[in-house]
């Protein structure tokens, strides 16, 4: 929302043309402002991470919050994902080629390249980003953030940096965990539904350095983007409980969009790089 009210012309009425312009411009401005704010928080986070003193206790707490407390959630969702993908792929492979030998190897490759980091990140964007925005947002509306600043503690230093470090580390760890979960669930589905031997299914021959690197760089990028977007939403709350609700919604939407966008960029780059290398 812009701070300035609609400009009025001489008659004190807003003209239809002006209204049209402002209705077109306002969302654009809003998006631009959000992106600018997110990059500001990102820059400040790096500044305080490199210059400020480390906060081990807070970081460990956040590692627990982001990592340990997401394990069950990731297990359930990625487990289902593994089963769904193998069902769909196995069904198609049976229909078209009738050959399931390559199913496991290709599945592992696809998990590494795309699904494990991205879907994990979507889940973290759901669970962790809303949590962060809600927590920081309610600190803003109860004036705790103002109190931090009055005690000469910078909110970004104090609140964002531990979350940033914890989420970046945990995103990589959880992505690896997600590969294991989804792959095991897939192996079980392949065994019970298509009678595919687990030994045939576990096939690492397709995996190369490229797949691992692509998956890890995605996980790292998501891990940095999600906490920044979520904390930005939390720090920009205004108004009471309504504002906190709005911030959590913004956090999950913006974080998910950031994940999808980064996925597109990194996948595209990966494709171009692979083309150059081979």
């Amino acid at each position: 929302m812009s701070d300035q009210p609609l400009q009025s012309d001489e008659n004190g009425e807003t003209s239809a043309f002006r209204r049209l312009l402002s209705s077109l411009g306002e969302p654009v401005l809003e998006v631009a402002q959000t992106i600018k704010g997110i990059f500001q928080v990102f820059g400040l986070t790096w500044y305080y991470m490199l210059k400020g003193r480390p906060r081990w206790k807070a970081t460990v707490e956040q590692l627990h919050e982001v990592g340990n407390r997401s394990v069950l959630f990731i297990t359930v969702t990625l487990g289902f994902l593994g089963m769904i993908l193998i069902y769909q792929a196995g069904y198609q492979a049976e229909r078209i080629t009738g050959d399931l030998q390559m199913l496991g190897g290709l599945f592992l490759q696809l998990l590494l390249r795309e699904f494990a980091p991205t879907i994990t990140a979507m889940m973290i964007a759901t669970r962790v980003a809303t949590g962060m925005a809600a927590q920081i947002g309610s600190m803003v509306v109860t004036e705790q953030v103002d109190a931090l600043r009055m005690c000469a503690a910078q909110p970004v230093d104090y609140l964002v940096v531990p979350r940033f470090i914890a989420t970046t580390i945990m995103m990589v760890v959880l992505s690896i965990f997600a590969v294991l979960v989804a792959y095991s669930a897939g192996a079980m589905t392949a065994y019970f539904s298509f009678g595919l031997n687990v030994r045939t299914f576990v096939d690492m021959s397709f995996i190369g350095w490229f797949d691992v690197l692509l998956g890890l760089s995605k996980a790292l990028a998501y891990g940095m983007a999600i906490p920044i977007v979520a904390c930005h939403a939390g720090l920009n709350v205004f108004g009471g409980s309504e504002g906190v609700g709005r911030a959590t919604t913004n956090a999950v939407v913006n974080a998910s969009l950031a994940v999808v966008f980064l996925d597109f960029v990194i996948s595209g780059l990966g494709y171009v790089i692979l083309g150059l290398v081979t």
Binding site: D3, T142, Q144, A147, M150, A152
Partner: protein
């Protein structure tokens, strides 16, 4: 000591403060009164540099608050204590850590000194045994007192109280005002108190400012406000009005 010059602030398309100027002399105890939404809390936040005004300047000891960088602003804030309206106690720390937080941030005190100071502070607010409790385990009055202890733990020369008795029963309110009185006589602070409790601030303040719809309507000492003929001042000070039915 504190000079506020021509502050204007717009919030969500509405002018909350319109060209407000005031002077707060060293050692003065200002009572800031006025109807809700009149911009009282906002003025305090602008003075501390928590909110940037659209126009105007704030000087504390001739330092322009809004021209400072983060580090200098932090140094300035070491000299200001603030009691927030919603307690603003950190809910992820227990009370002792909350009170110790400003001292820890300064980074120049040893842990023993801090522990001693916290012990003394808890004793001063007559809640000696609640150091290990978390804010959500306390009643409203206790939270206010802990928040008060945190605000003055550094012995700041300037203290702001944003509605110190909001939502408290009369007995607890009077306890809070006794505390405020005590800190004033002990430290000789400069203070600004926002309150709707006229009986309470009559006791602790020597100058009064009435703010309505973003403008200062009245400014003066106790005798002047007693004698004022401005209707809204009378309404606030004496708690009644002649045109009650027309409001």
């Amino acid at each position: 000591m504190i000079r506020v010059e021509n502050i204007s602030k717009r919030h969500e398309g509405r002018m909350v403060l319109k060209d407000v100027s005031m002077d707060i002399a060293e050692g003065a105890n200002i009572g800031l009164i006025g109807p809700g939404g009149g911009g009282k809390s906002l003025i305090l936040k602008i003075i501390c540099g928590l909110v940037t005004p659209d126009s105007g300047n704030v000087f504390i000891d001739d330092i322009d608050v809004h021209s400072l960088g983060p580090t200098e602003l932090a140094d300035l804030r070491f000299r200001i204590g603030m009691l927030f309206q919603n307690y603003a106690l950190f809910d992820f720390m227990n009370c002792a850590d909350n009170i110790a937080f400003p001292l820890r941030q300064e980074g120049t005190h040893s842990e023993e000194e801090i522990a001693e100071a916290v012990h003394q502070a808890l004793h001063d607010i007559s809640l000696p045994d609640i150091g290990h409790l978390y804010p959500n385990e306390l009643s409203g009055g206790m939270k206010k007192r802990v928040s008060f202890a945190r605000a003055v733990i550094r012995r700041p020369p300037i203290v702001f109280y944003d509605d110190p008795t909001a939502g408290l029963d009369p007995v607890t309110s009077s306890k809070i005002f006794i505390l405020l009185r005590k800190i004033q006589t002990e430290l000789g602070v400069t203070s600004v108190t926002i309150s709707h409790d006229i009986g309470g601030i009559k006791e602790i303040c020597d100058r009064f400012v009435l703010l309505d719809q973003g403008k200062i309507i009245f400014e003066g000492d106790r005798d002047e406000i007693e004698a004022s003929e401005i209707p809204i001042v009378k309404k606030f000070w004496h708690g009644f009005s002649d045109d009650e039915l027309n409001v």
